[in-house]
Symmetry: C2
Subunit: 362 residues, 2 copies
Amino acid sequence: MKRREFLKSGLAGSAAATIAAPAVAQSAPEVKWRLTSSFPRSLDTLYGASELLSRIVAEATDGKFQIQVFSPGEIVPGLQALDAVGNATVEMAHSSSFYYIGKDTAFAFATAMPFGLNARQQNAWIHHGGGQELMDRLYAKFNLCALPGGNTNCQMGGWFRKEIRTVEDLDGLKMRIGGLAGQVMQKLGAVPQQIAGGDIYPALEKGSIDAVEWGGPYDDEKLGFARVAPYYYYPGWWEGGAMLHFFFNLEKLAALPPAYRAVIRNAAAYVNVDVQAKYDAFNPGAIKRLVQNGALLRPFSTEIMEASWNAAKELYAELNAKNPEFKTIYDSYMPFRSDQYLWQQIAELSYDAYMIRQRTRG
Amino acid sequence: MKRREFLKSGLAGSAAATIAAPAVAQSAPEVKWRLTSSFPRSLDTLYGASELLSRIVAEATDGKFQIQVFSPGEIVPGLQALDAVGNATVEMAHSSSFYYIGKDTAFAFATAMPFGLNARQQNAWIHHGGGQELMDRLYAKFNLCALPGGNTNCQMGGWFRKEIRTVEDLDGLKMRIGGLAGQVMQKLGAVPQQIAGGDIYPALEKGSIDAVEWGGPYDDEKLGFARVAPYYYYPGWWEGGAMLHFFFNLEKLAALPPAYRAVIRNAAAYVNVDVQAKYDAFNPGAIKRLVQNGALLRPFSTEIMEASWNAAKELYAELNAKNPEFKTIYDSYMPFRSDQYLWQQIAELSYDAYMIRQRTRG
């Protein structure tokens, strides 16, 4: 959603909108909202994003607009944030859009696609590539809208108990993996599971799963996967840059004074850049510690990468055929991706590759 | 500057701070500020950043906090924004920190360093790598503070009338190039010039300069350099990601109600991500049009890259010896850079390189 659309969001036809009458005395009312996070409190990055939003919204409104943050399970389970916002159990949430591909596969575009946009490109698509408008239409069907609220950046390919060299090694492998990546993995013979953050480690420990992808080094270190599954693969080709989102109930948003809507939109942008910066700042230290403590870094083999690429293409063809909404967004997203990488290979990649070569040379 | 520091900025010891008394009636006063931009009005990216900030600050304060935007030359020339803010001629500015290396070479760190951090890494260093605190100390000496306000992302290496294959080809070349990059170029025999955006094209046209670096394809296309100097080199090794900044006069900032300070900080973050997204979204189309219209894309030769790298190292040694402030920041920035590229080569680079290979294969 673009700035202006977010500001007038839901105003048309919403009974609640009348609350936001333009009288000056009402322009800065006391408002209390509840936010449910899909992420465990132990992750200062992901859970911290909601706490940060709450704090900076309060600061910008002299404490008048208060957002109380709840952990998964306190109000609703981690993976039910979308329903909870849509039906106004809570006013807002912090979650991953692609958790909800069971409702509509097109939700995946807002977060990350297998072999999709990287983190910066995702911001570009959402802000200036038509992505926000396309996603708005989908979210509106579920009575909500969403704004970017951080990015994990390119993720790792996850933790495996054993080495994975060939596609055969994936056969029957039970893996916690979210979004469409699970469906790609399934085409390769793996058995994907969707499990919320806090429940993964116990599942891995007791052996009900063989592998897990969660995020990057900083979060993964906290969740302790290395102790049980030491092979740490890269890159996470299903999350070249996984965008997080704040969800807003449309009527509740429309009921806010316009200034508060602007405050929360600007604050979400602060969180968006801050969370991404935090991952970038803290991942290097974490990867060093993980390797020192026994994590075994492995690149996915060319065989696995090629098979995954082909399986993703096959999946996209199926989803385009099945879901017109998916195809509409796909037809914006994929040409955008092509243009992004055309440009990136000129300046950005040649710069970064040179810097990495020089670093290696010392 | 971190969130909390920005909020209490200048409150200690500032006479002006008493204006921000905590009475409720004063918590949302009418405030009018003036902002001078260092960038020509013709650039919707750079100049547009200030207009966007002005609009979203007004939205978040019910129109009570108004920021009027001025072009370079309307109040002060483009390259005098820092002085104008420091002496309160204007309350704030949008500019590039490295324009002011004549005052202190350490100003360069806030924008971009030759062979320095890329755009995302620069956000990481500022937000969570200690960069903001280090820069705050420097800015405070000039009676201002600064927040990120966009990033051009990795720039191109500029426009040249003739091909540049060897270091000898740079000998005597008059080039518009800003910041420390000019000093590196000087070591290679070129004659650097600092010229504000709007004045570059006339200088190039009448032949008083032979080459110009400005930014990336989208801005460069607007400024029309291709018509006069068709060889378009990459990468811009001096601006792997050039961060723009909003400057704030310390007393004027302290005089704001705390909520307005939070509003402007959050709004600056919105602009920070939006400007970066705009460059990413619009550069691909621009590079295609430029090439179609005759721009001749050329990578810098290995000889030029290596000579530039070595000249930059030499310059850093000199600046560290001459300027303790420079060395203090350098000692934070360079280890951070090393860690960033250690991590980036694992997941990000392998992902992006794979995506680019697949794109080329079709």
